[in-house]
Symmetry: C2
Subunit: 352 residues, 2 copies
DNA sequence: ATGAAAGCGCTAACAG
DNA sequence: CTGTTAGCGCTTTCAT
């Protein structure tokens, strides 16, 4: 019933000492089966549900909790299937470590933004920064000041933080090469945000020098690695289908229409595809479209997006492993996951 | 720095007692501005980041954590925009209470299933069961045994649990009446799961008596309230677009094709709509389609689903309020939210 | 306004 | 194998 019953009560009822009773529950020490049963029986009678986690935590100095810091709004983060899949893998692996997952909203604005107090006060043994950590992030600063070990996903890290990321630059290079081989020369790209300021539209040269987020920067660099210089770099403020559609409309209705559009995410690419359909363009007859992430998007039927696949579930598991390593006192490492280009039905030879 | 520095160290450095130092941080007691600054300065010098949450928690008997128990897989739960929006609202309101949100995977199988140990051991002051709680759920049993106050969302509750839900029976009645008024008589329905056994396809009379989940049962009952007896009750194992498409194909390619299909969720309805398009049927010319939830589904463009809108964000906030109430020792209540029918472009007069 | 003392519930040395 | 003894770091009466 009420959580009033303590280990001491159980011990008293069983006629043993508190430490013995503790051993009966934890099993972390020698104890005779007889006393063990005796204690467990007493517990049953008293309705004792096992050691109070708070006492255990204080004593052991560990909260048994991994703080996962997501973007400024859960809704925004979770609208993205990419985040969800990573989070799912992470949750599974964290759970197998016997740890809980504390979800923390963490705005990433540098400067005078108010910081979610939980970042500074919630009990956590390790923190995972799920996306877009920048070196000047106040979240990062607060966690570091607390001495909490940190795992960064797809961002820039300081000394002492673990980093998990994918080969996105290579992935984008593969897409670029694929399109060049198909004869495309007028290639535009739709990018993820450069910064948190919500800009949307073609980026001018000045804007291109202000790319705070690693992901957009690296994926753009990958395209250039292939020798592609995009005719237009169209920035979006988030990875959303409707923003891709807006970008697609703009790019595809311009007089010097590109023959191929590469989006930095599958969601954006889906939007571009919808825009192409809306404008009555044939894909890939009139325009080729490629994305990034390798999501399963049945509603695009009958089209299947050409995309760079990343192992999202594995990524989550790897984050879990990094958490375990940090907890075990091992040195933080950087791990980079491979990606692969999977050609679908949305890319083909450039129109003549 | 390292988390070694304690309040005692700070107190010593500042030349005050521990209790005074505590007051300097909590502000919960009389303290002179001078000593306060002195303590804070000492803390600054020592790199002390404020009271250790673990000590505070043990002393106060509160973990400052709300456990949110979602379905068996985070991926599955979070693929559903409905869950996400509720979770977003909940996270916001929980955060404003200064509480953390612990995500707990909780399989809901009765019987010999292994229970996620976190349900029994993780520190939490209140638990929220996000979906589909059934009275025989082992999760519910474990939490109740621990004496953790419980908020159930859209499920059945026992005595002493708070319940948050929507008027879904009324909502479905509205849809039924809407379709009847349009002249429809052959109406089929695509439902959410009856149970966790993953069944898919038309439900026979026997199956209809085994509806463990409240949502499917209530929404079906609502349709009947309107006087609609569905020609087919097509059950799906989850609220997913592709399952709706499968259901749509089956229903729409049968010889006695219905003139209207009501799905118990917008995702299912979207799938049905895609199936109709695929089969070259005009919507609503040949078939009317309605959903439930009121999601924003831009990729259905140019169609806009006729749907019953539920206030998802508000629901999340209401859950947060229920949490606060339980924490304050108030009596658990049931709160039912209103819904409204919003007619889109996918329903029209029955074909003659 | 400040300090002393008493635990919150538990685990981990260390004796026995 | 079991009991004794110390705390983990903090907050909170209760004196002063």
């Amino acid at each position: 019933m009420s959580a009033r019953t303590t280990l001491a009560d159980v011990a008293a009822a069983a006629g043993v000492s508190v430490s013995t009773a503790s051993l009966a529950f934890s099993g972390a020490g020698p104890i005779s089966p007889a006393t063990r049963t005796k204690v467990l029986e007493a517990a049953g009678t008293l309705g004792y549900q096992g050691p109070n986690p708070l006492g255990r935590q204080l004593r052991s100095g560990r909260a048994g909790i991994v703080g996962v810091v997501v973007g400024d709004s859960l809704r925004r983060s979770f609208r993205d299937p990419v985040s969800i899949q990573v989070l799912d893998g992470l949750a599974t692996s964290i759970e197998s470590l016997g740890l809980g997952l504390l979800l923390v909203r963490g705005s990433d604005e540098p400067g005078a933004e108010e910081l979610n107090p939980l970042v500074a006060t919630a009990a956590m043994d390790v923190a995972v920064l799920l996306w877009g950590a920048t070196t000047d992030s106040p979240v990062l600063a607060a966690l570091r000041a607390r001495g909490v070990p940190i795992v960064v996903v797809e961002g820039r890290v300081g000394e002492g933080d673990a980093l998990i990321r994918i080969q996105d630059r290579t992935g984008m290079r593969l897409i670029g090469e694929h399109l060049l081989a198909l004869g495309h020369r007028r290639i535009a790209t739709v990018t993820l945000p450069f910064d948190r300021d919500g800009r949307e539209g073609p980026a001018d040269p000045a804007r291109l020098t202000h790319m705070r987020y690693e992901i957009a920067r690296r994926r753009l660099a990958g395209l250039r690695d292939a020798g592609v210089e995009p005719t237009v770099v169209y920035e979006t403020p988030a990875s959303l289908v409707e923003l891709g559609t807006a970008a697609g409309r703009a790019l595809l209705s311009s007089p010097d229409r590109p023959t191929a559009i590469v989006a930095q995410s599958d969601l954006l690419a889906s939007g571009v595809l919808l825009a192409a359909r809306e404008l009555g363009l044939s894909v890939p007859g009139d325009v080729s479209i490629a994305g990034f992430d390798g999501l399963d998007l049945p509603w695009l039927h009958p089209d299947v997006l050409t995309s760079v696949h990343q192992p999202l579930q594995t990524k989550g598991e790897l984050i879990g492993r990094a958490v375990a390593d940090l907890l075990a006192g091992k040195k933080p490492r950087t791990r980079t996951l491979d990606v692969s280009l999977v050609v679908g039905t949305t890319t083909g030879p450039a129109p003549v």
